[in-house]
């Protein structure tokens, strides 16, 4: 087993952070050793402390103090609200840490350009969390495309339809914390950017990663929110053209309703629909994130009276086949480039902002 890299977790506002902490807490072969966690929010910190209760971890309410106190760490995981990412990037780079950013690096184009500029002369690893590269179905899709078995791509369809995390993570439903500023979804609208679209950069990345095609035109619509109380959008559908005029469709919405319970339950009736369909000149490939479903109705299930669709466990053969593992391999110098780079993350943001602009202007946006 390889030595895990030392990680400082700057912020746990991102709903994925508890998952990384559970990995460290429960998996003896986890590629990261979490040295310290910082968060100013007592409730979130209490949750992380509970997850990591059997591990020796230090806790800070001020992330800058944590960075200063642990020069022995290899890397910083940026896990705060999106609004704070830019500052965290800057301070982590000032101190020379490797950086792992959750989801969007920033939704602000000027901040993104600045980060990209700084990163060009930065010798350390920067990986941006863009999900599903290590999901076998999508990796297989990439192989089919890149090997030519599907032939020339004629259309691409991808949905990433989830429940809304905003009930359980209220900060996720705050337009300023999520998008960085308050921008109505369209003129005069009573809900704002920063919802389902901001939450889902990976569909835009996946289309580029699988097909090798770039986005050229974007047109998007947003329906009235299913959840009337929500201040950010819960529905967006995006279509347009990739290189060569190839039509695409992406839906990154929160269209699957969740149970009204205080703790997050990604269970009922199916938390996530992630369908990929690629039509090529020589063939057609379709895949669902839920490759091997398990249906459960049980007295002691968290949702006892409803059918729960869960995934059967997937075999993990190579520890490097995870976002955490590939980042650790990069930091150790065993891998030359991150699985998903800062440029990849900012590219997804550019397309997402084009979709927001399209909704606002009700017109096609060229990229």
């Amino acid at each position: 087993m390889k030595e895990p890299i030392g990680i400082l977790v700057a912020g746990s506002a991102n709903p994925h952070i508890p998952g990384y902490c559970r990995g460290f807490a429960n998996d003896p072969e986890y590629p990261w050793k979490i040295i310290a966690v910082a968060d100013h929010d007592p409730a979130r910190m209490a949750n992380i402390r509970e997850i990591l209760k059997n591990k020796k971890v230090e806790y800070y309410s001020d992330w800058r103090k944590m960075l200063d106190a642990h020069p022995e760490a290899d890397a910083v995981q940026i896990g705060s609200d999106n609004k704070d990412h830019f500052e965290m990037f800057r301070e982590a780079m000032d101190r020379g840490y490797h950086i792992y950013s959750t989801k969007v690096p920033t939704m602000d184009p000027e901040e993104g350009a600045q980060l990209l500029k700084w990163s060009r002369n930065y010798s350390k690893v920067i990986q941006v969390e863009l999900e599903l590269h290590f999901n076998p179905q999508f990796r297989y899709a990439r192989e089919l495309v890149r090997s030519g078995r599907l032939g020339r791509i004629r259309s691409v369809y991808l949905t990433n339809i989830s429940q809304s995390p905003c009930n359980y993570f209220p900060n996720w439903g705050d337009p300023e914390l999520s998008y960085g500023k308050v921008v109505p979804i369209r003129p005069g609208a009573d809900y704002f950017r920063g919802g389902a679209l901001t939450d889902h950069p990976h569909p835009f990345d996946l289309v580029r990663w699988i097909t090798g095609l770039e986005f050229r035109e974007v047109y998007a619509m947003s329906a009235r929110n299913q959840r009337k109380h929500l201040k950010v959008e819960d529905h967006v559908a995006v279509t347009g053209k990739l290189d060569g005029g190839v039509p695409f469709f992406i839906n990154p919405s929160y269209s699957n309703l969740e149970e009204q319970v205080p703790a997050r339950r990604l269970l009922w009736p199916k938390s996530l629909e992630c369908n990929l369909k690629i039509t090529g000149e020589k063939g057609y490939y379709a895949a669902d994130f839920f490759d091997k479903p398990l249906y459960a109705v049980g007295r002691h299930c968290p949702s006892p009276d409803r059918l729960i669709v869960d995934m059967a466990p997937r075999p993990g053969l190579n520890p490097g086949n995870t976002l955490a593992g590939s980042f650790a391999a990069c930091v150790r110098g065993e891998r030359s480039a991150p699985e998903s780079t800062l440029a990849d993350g900012l590219n997804a943001v550019r397309i997402m902002n084009a979709a927001y602009d399209s909704i606002y202007r009700d017109s096609v946006v060229s990229l």
């Binding site: 076998p136 192989e143 329906a223 699957n256 369908n275 057609y284 669902d288 490759d291």
Partner: protein
């Protein structure tokens, strides 16, 4: 399509079922129509656009209970393959995926998914595109439904193929007490 032409898709039981349950799920917010057919079943481009697509738009308009406000279509040039977004005056958005260019080994797939403020109505399976194993690869030689179990490319096949490959790579788990079970089978079949 003029007003004298028939409108058969309004007889589609899925559409009728959704319409019948409309009051049970709160207010409608968005719709998704999936219409997939193999190329051998494709209609003419005219019928595809002005027959099928217009009819599906009509179903959406009826469910949205409002006039069409905006329609945007992305169509593959010269083929019956399009994505479309339609906005209705009620704020409902309908998404359309119509593809009649699939390999001839593919079956038809027709779904409607309706998302409401307090529920969903759909004939779309909870899991999988149209099969519970999740992955489908089709070309003119045939249709394969399979699982992709791991990022390692050699594990992509049927459930049993994947299990056998896993055992080869990671070792076969031991099964204790198998002799008892084998004896029970022997007795049960009279051997």
């Amino acid at each position: 399509m003029n007003s004298n032409q028939i409108f058969p898709l309004s007889s589609w039981c899925v559409f009728q079922g959704i319409r019948n349950h409309m009051g049970e799920c709160g207010e409608l917010r968005s719709l998704r129509f999936t219409w997939q057919r193999p190329a051998k079943a494709a209609s003419s481009e005219e019928n595809f656009l002005y027959g099928t697509f217009v009819q599906l738009l009509g179903l959406a308009r009826e469910l949205a209970d409002a006039g069409l406000k905006k329609l945007h279509v992305e169509k593959e040039s010269g083929r019956n393959n399009l994505f479309a977004l339609a906005a209705f005056d009620s704020g409902v958005v309908a998404e359309f995926e119509l593809n009649e260019t699939l390999p001839d080994s593919m079956p038809d797939t027709f779904f409607i998914k309706a998302n409401f403020t307090h529920g969903h109505l759909t004939n779309q399976p909870l899991v999988g595109h149209f099969n519970e194993e999740g992955s489908v690869f089709a070309d003119e030689s045939g249709l394969r439904q399979f699982t992709v179990d791991s990022c390692d490319p050699e594990i992509a096949g049927s459930m049993l193929e994947n299990v056998m490959t896993l055992c080869r790579l990671k070792g076969t788990p031991e099964m204790s007490g198998w002799e008892q079970l084998a004896e029970a089978v022997g007795k049960a079949v009279g051997q």
